[in-house]
């Protein structure tokens, strides 16, 4: 699992399940929360998707604008917590 694969899977999930637009353009640095495209209801869905798809638990208080506003930030969070879990 590398960063690009995580971004691709997250992008597919967000486009299909949350935005309802499978063909929508979604850049890696495009803001999702601050732009209002996804809200706190949807963030919970992303969190559960990350748990099932990557087997990584990202704490709720990390899933905020500062850390998880873009696909790139979300992927970095997943990688960070995957690394933390591996060292525990």
């Amino acid at each position: 699992m590398n960063r690009a694969e995580i971004i691709d899977e997250l992008r597919d999930f967000i486009r299909t399940e949350l935005l309802g637009e499978p063909d929508a353009e979604l850049g890696v640095d495009e803001p999702l929360i601050t732009s209002g495209r996804i809200d706190s209801f949807s963030i919970a869905q992303v969190a559960v998707f990350v748990e099932t798809a990557f087997g990584v638990y990202v704490p709720d208080n990390e899933l905020v604008v500062d850390n998880a506003d873009t696909l790139a930030q979300m992927a970095d969070l997943v990688l960070r917590y995957a690394a933390d879990a591996a060292t525990d």
């Binding site: 732009s35 919970a44 969190a47 709720d60």
Partner: protein, 471 residues
């Protein structure tokens, strides 16, 4: 020591003067001593209660992660101890009379159970719970510095009514060198003046024009008067609380300890979710992180269908009911939380069948309609926030008996216009200290006008209390 007094200002100016003479570690000791002394002016009993809670949480957090893996019962016991102390102190008024009645009463028992809520305890309990949860999850290590942790607990500029800070950021700030440059000073001073203006000029003016018995005996008023009274109260409450927060944030900035923002133009919220990012933000975020999100994830794990009713209804309702109970143990506040939760669920429903359209991308008419709908929803829920259940029911009933139009008092129009004007300035550039970008001569003129207005307002009548200190 009341906040809107010169005594308070001079006390903290004196502390600030000594603060800058010291290196960083003793600075934390000084701030802790100054905070404890300040809290002691309210009541030394409060200091004792908060001291015990601080020590209990400090040592319990260290015990939480002792061993190879975190043990859930330790966390639950820690949360239970904090919630229990809140129940004991905050809800004593509710259950002590019942308990006395059941146990047969008696002067000794009455003395033992006559408990006063330490000011700010409700806010501290939330901070303690988030600290224990974050330590349990391994997101932060348990603090090993009792002075820093005690300062996190007692810090006077956030103790009385928030903002509700997180240990992970606040303790880090305490461990770092303080940076107070010209920009920080300018920003802090601006926040201090804006806060004092909101509280002493806008909120206190609006408080003066609300008829004193309107929310106790609504039968004496027509529907228009009640609608206006409700709107004026909404603006008063906002400026009262936001003013307090800005003053504390401004003052704290001089110590190089920035505090979290709690309000940003809430009357411009375009949907019910947005308002919780603009009104009492730190409470909204706490509820999101420690009630809403864990519940939402638990339900989604059981059944990932986002349209399932339990996934849509239970988490926001639970979060808002907790919010109601946190504000106080009474039916009207429980129903207030339930009503806000209901509005959140309703506003969520359309997005289950079609994608969310970000508010910024909506046409202007729809944004304005959204703002109007949020304002109506919040005003309706405010009735339950300020009145007991029976009076609130009567108030709602009276709202629909239309009476002839009555012009609002000029002072109310003036206060609301000032509040909206200030908000518009901040909202347009999404900057709470936008005034710092304006020409110097305009800054000077505005500052002079604001200080004169604050001076006159404090001379004309004594300052009203801070409403959120009651929680």
């Amino acid at each position: 020591m009341q906040i809107t007094t010169f005594q308070f200002l001079f006390y903290w100016l004196l502390v600030l003067a000594v603060y800058y003479l010291l290196p960083r570690r003793p600075q934390n000791v000084l701030l802790l001593a100054a905070s404890v002394l300040f809290y002691g002016t309210w009541s030394w009993r409060f200091v004792g209660v908060l001291g015990i809670l601080t020590l209990a949480n400090f040592f319990w957090a260290r015990f939480l992660r002792k061993g190879r893996a975190p043990i859930p019962w330790r966390l639950w016991l820690g949360i239970g101890g904090n919630v229990g102390s809140l129940v004991l102190f905050k809800y004593a008024d509710f259950f002590v009379p019942e308990l006395l009645h059941l146990l047969g009463g008696g002067p000794t028992l009455e003395w033992v159970l006559k408990i006063v809520l330490p000011v700010g305890l409700s806010y501290r309990i939330l901070e303690n719970i988030s600290y224990l949860v974050d330590v349990y999850r391994g997101q932060i290590p348990a603090s090993r510095n009792l002075v820093d942790f005690s300062l996190f607990s007692f810090y006077a500029l956030k103790l009385l009514s928030g903002p509700i800070e997180r240990a992970r950021s606040f303790l880090n700030r305490l461990a770092e060198p303080r940076l107070v440059d010209n920009d920080v000073v300018a920003r802090s001073f601006t926040l201090l003046v804006i806060g004092a203006f909101r509280k002493l000029v806008i909120a206190d003016t609006l408080a003066g024009v609300i008829p004193p018995l309107m929310f106790e005996s609504p039968s004496a008023y027509g529907s228009w008067e009640l609608v206006m009274g409700l709107l004026i109260y909404g603006f008063m409450l906002y400026n009262n609380f936001a003013g307090y927060t800005d003053m504390m944030r401004g003052l704290s900035g001089f110590f190089g300890l920035p505090l979290s923002s709690n309000f940003f133009c809430p009357f411009f919220s375009r949907n019910m979710t947005e308002i919780w990012t603009r009104w009492h933000t730190t409470l909204g975020l706490w509820l999101r992180d420690y009630i809403y999100m864990p519940l939402s994830r638990a339900f989604l794990r059981r059944n990932p269908n986002p349209r399932r009713w339990a996934n849509v209804v239970v988490p926001p309702m639970a979060a808002m009911l907790v919010s109601g109970l946190w504000h106080g143990l009474s039916w009207n506040l429980v129903c207030w939380g339930g009503l806000i939760g209901f509005f959140l669920v309703i506003s969520r429903l359309p997005s289950l069948w079609r994608p969310l359209v970000p508010p910024d991308r909506q046409p202007m008419w729809r944004q304005l309609l959204g703002m109007g709908a949020v304002a109506v929803a919040m005003a309706l829920s405010l009735v339950l926030f300020i009145m007991d259940f029976n009076t609130a029911a009567y108030f709602y009933e009276r709202l629909f008996f239309w009476t002839k139009w009555v012009a609002p008092p000029p002072l109310a129009v003036f206060g609301v216009a000032l509040s909206l004007g200030l908000d518009i300035c901040q909202y347009v550039r999404r900057d709470e200290v936008i005034f710092l970008r304006w020409p110097r001569w305009l800054q000077a003129a505005l500052l002079a006008a604001a200080l004169l207005a604050i001076f006159l307002a404090t001379r004309l009548k004594p300052a009203e209390p801070f409403i959120y200190q009651g929680f």
